[in-house]
């Protein structure tokens, strides 16, 4: 009997057939969803992207950052600067934001990769603080109190308010799909095999000849550039930016970490599921205010202590399900051996 290795399972193929109509339905959302729903869905898409990106960083590359708000804020501010100060069209500014994210995160990585483990985490936070304090000094972007996106730039997106809301939604959806697509592609590539090996055992991966530093560096830079893009889109939706909102550790790191921990760290499906759970909870419990945040923290701690692989990890352990064709499976082995 011949052995073959495949990543696809019956479920992942079926999922592909479910995914296509879902995406079509989502693209058509401006025709069936109200303005408020569209905004909420845009927010979900952007949070999902942040969660998927943070999970790639922490769950796969072992780079537990609590300072990704540095790049969310950087992207937001750079987008405002490029459109308002440099006069670029928003669509031209977005790719530049990604590039600038790559460029700025590379030296940052060289510096903070000197810190290990948990100290790395706090180091990323220091970097985020440096970004926040620096942008608060730029008076042409409103200094400490921030600034609003000028109406002419908002108008340049599309004619009419509904059309603009639709464009903002398509941008958020497109960014979400770009991020998930990029992560699937990365995880299926040679780099992805190296990453998965690092996730499972860093020492073993090193002894197989994987260049740990370079792999982690690549992930950090790619994730930071894409995080900057998401930041630009978040503040395009909000139309207003200030240092405290742009570099908020609560909004862009705490929530994202909770989403990933609850959904399941170290899987691609986990952060996606986590985002949906997070927003379902938020929409029903948001009236509780601070109590809601406390509950979220308690849930995250309980999951970390008793089910460290989160909701998706639980499902996967139980039924071996995987929606995206990522892990390799050997078929053709005799049943006895398996």
């Amino acid at each position: 009997m011949s052995l073959s290795v495949t990543r696809r399972t019956r479920l992942s193929t079926a999922w592909l057939f479910v995914l296509v109509p879902i995406v079509i339905l989502l693209i058509a959302a401006p025709w069936w969803a109200g303005r408020a729903d569209l905004r909420l869905m845009g927010e979900i898409a952007l949070y999902m992207s942040l969660a998927v990106l943070w999970n790639l960083l922490a769950g796969y590359a072992g780079l537990v950052s609590v300072g990704q708000q540095a790049y969310v804020g950087f992207g937001g501010y750079l987008f405002f600067a490029l459109t308002m100060l440099a006069g670029l069209h928003p669509f031209a500014a977005l790719p530049l934001v990604v590039l600038a994210g790559f460029v700025i995160s590379a030296p940052v990585a060289v510096l903070i990769f000197r810190l290990r483990g948990a100290y790395f985490a706090i180091g990323t936070w220091v970097v985020a603080e440096v970004f926040r304090l620096s942008f608060a000094q730029i008076s042409s972007l409103g200094g400490g109190s921030g600034t609003s996106l000028s109406p002419s730039i908002v108008r340049s997106l599309a004619d009419g308010r509904d059309a603009r809301e639709a464009v903002a939604w398509w941008l958020a959806l497109g960014a979400g799909m770009l991020v998930i697509g990029a992560v699937v592609w990365l995880l299926r590539s040679r780099q992805g095999v190296a990453l998965t090996a690092i996730r499972d055992n860093e020492l073993a991966a090193r002894s197989l000849g994987i260049d740990i530093w370079r792999t982690k560096f690549t992930v950090y830079v790619v994730v930071s550039g894409l995080t900057a893009l998401i930041g630009a889109l978040i503040f395009l939706q909000k139309l207003r930016i200030s240092p405290d909102a742009a570099f908020s550790a609560n909004d862009w790191t705490a929530f994202v970490i909770f989403i990933v921990v609850i959904g399941g760290i170290g899987t691609l499906e986990g952060p996606i599921l986590g985002t949906l759970v997070f927003f379902a909870l938020r929409e029903t419990l948001a009236d509780l205010g601070t109590l809601y945040l406390i509950a979220l923290g308690v849930v995250a701690i309980v999951i970390m202590l008793f089910a460290p692989r989160g909701l998706w990890g639980f499902l996967r352990d139980r039924w071996g399900v995987e929606l995206f064709p990522l892990s390799r499976r050997v078929s053709g082995l005799a049943k006895k051996e398996a």
């Binding site: 948990a118 706090i122 705490a254 970390m304």
Partner: protein, 287 residues
């Protein structure tokens, strides 16, 4: 003379930062744990002191007699009930659990005390000063600095001269062997966290007397403490004091140039030292 004044004030401020850092350094040394909620525990101490001093009419400095043991108990319970479950090879669980604790603490304080900034009123000593030649030095900052020196000397003595210190060092070197020698790892870790939070209690009260604080003030304090630890070199307590002083001086000099640069100057000093001396100025152990 203004510059000399800034350097002296910065040095004294460094004493406070060393107190922020000592607790962090201690638990990292004993169990390689980095507590993300450390800053929030400093702020919690300030609020505990506030409650004691308001309800009992105590001077916050006297309230320390109650705050220190309270925080030590909190530390022991926290370690035994929650954090010991996260200790292992994987750094993710302790990191994310202490991160969750940090968010919980902030919001519990927000519910209990509102977002209004609070202050600890220590009376006349707050504004008392002595003149040293041409400089006027506040009594409180000098007291804080002396306390930091005493605390670090005491911790150093405890580590190298007492049975408890021996237990800490043994567990730090080889947890499994220490366990075989009859040390209860869970209890030793509990004691280390209790000691860490006892120091944190001092830091919190001094912080509350020096400046206004609110439930969200913890993050910055964690960062200052962490920077002092890294600048000084991991695992070196006297290095931590030096790190605190360097951070404090960088901040006061930055503020001298422009008040907006105070905190930024401290961070930049930290990043420069990280770039030039990644293991800190006086390293002792590998991270």
């Amino acid at each position: 003379m203004d510059w000399l004044n800034a350097i002296v004030q910065g040095t004294l401020l460094g004493g406070l930062y060393a107190l922020f850092a000592a607790g962090l350094s201690l638990i990292f040394g004993v169990m390689r744990l980095v507590n993300i909620a450390h800053g929030d525990l400093i702020v919690l101490s300030a609020y505990v002191a506030l409650s004691f001093s308001v309800s009992l009419g105590l001077n916050p400095l006297l309230a320390l007699v109650l705050v220190v043991p309270t925080m030590a108990l909190v530390g022991y319970a926290l370690q035994r009930l929650i954090l010991n479950r996260t200790m292992g090879e994987d750094i993710l669980p302790p990191l994310l659990v202490t991160f969750g604790l940090s968010v919980i603490l902030q919001n519990v304080l927000l519910m209990g005390y509102s977002a209004d900034p609070q202050n600890l009123q220590a009376g006349a000593i707050e504004t008392a000063s002595v003149s040293l030649g041409p400089l006027a030095v506040g009594v409180m900052p000098v007291m804080v600095f002396v306390t930091a020196v005493v605390v670090i000397a005491a911790l150093q003595w405890m580590f190298y001269r007492t049975a408890l210190g021996r237990a800490f060092r043994a567990t730090s070197d080889r947890q499994d062997v220490a366990q075989l020698m009859g040390l209860n790892r869970a209890h030793v870790f509990g004691l280390a966290m209790a000691l860490s939070l006892a120091v944190t209690a001092l830091a919190g009260v001094f912080l509350g007397i020096r400046t206004a604080f609110d439930p969200a003030a913890g993050g910055t304090r964690l960062i200052f403490g962490f920077e002092a630890v890294i600048i000084g070199g991991l695992g070196n307590l006297w290095g931590t004091l030096a790190g605190g002083v360097i951070l404090g001086v960088a901040q006061t000099l930055g503020a001298k140039i422009d008040p907006g640069y105070q905190i930024l100057a401290g961070h930049i000093a930290f990043l420069i030292i990280l770039a030039l001396r990644p293991r800190g100025l006086f390293p002792r152990i590998d991270a």
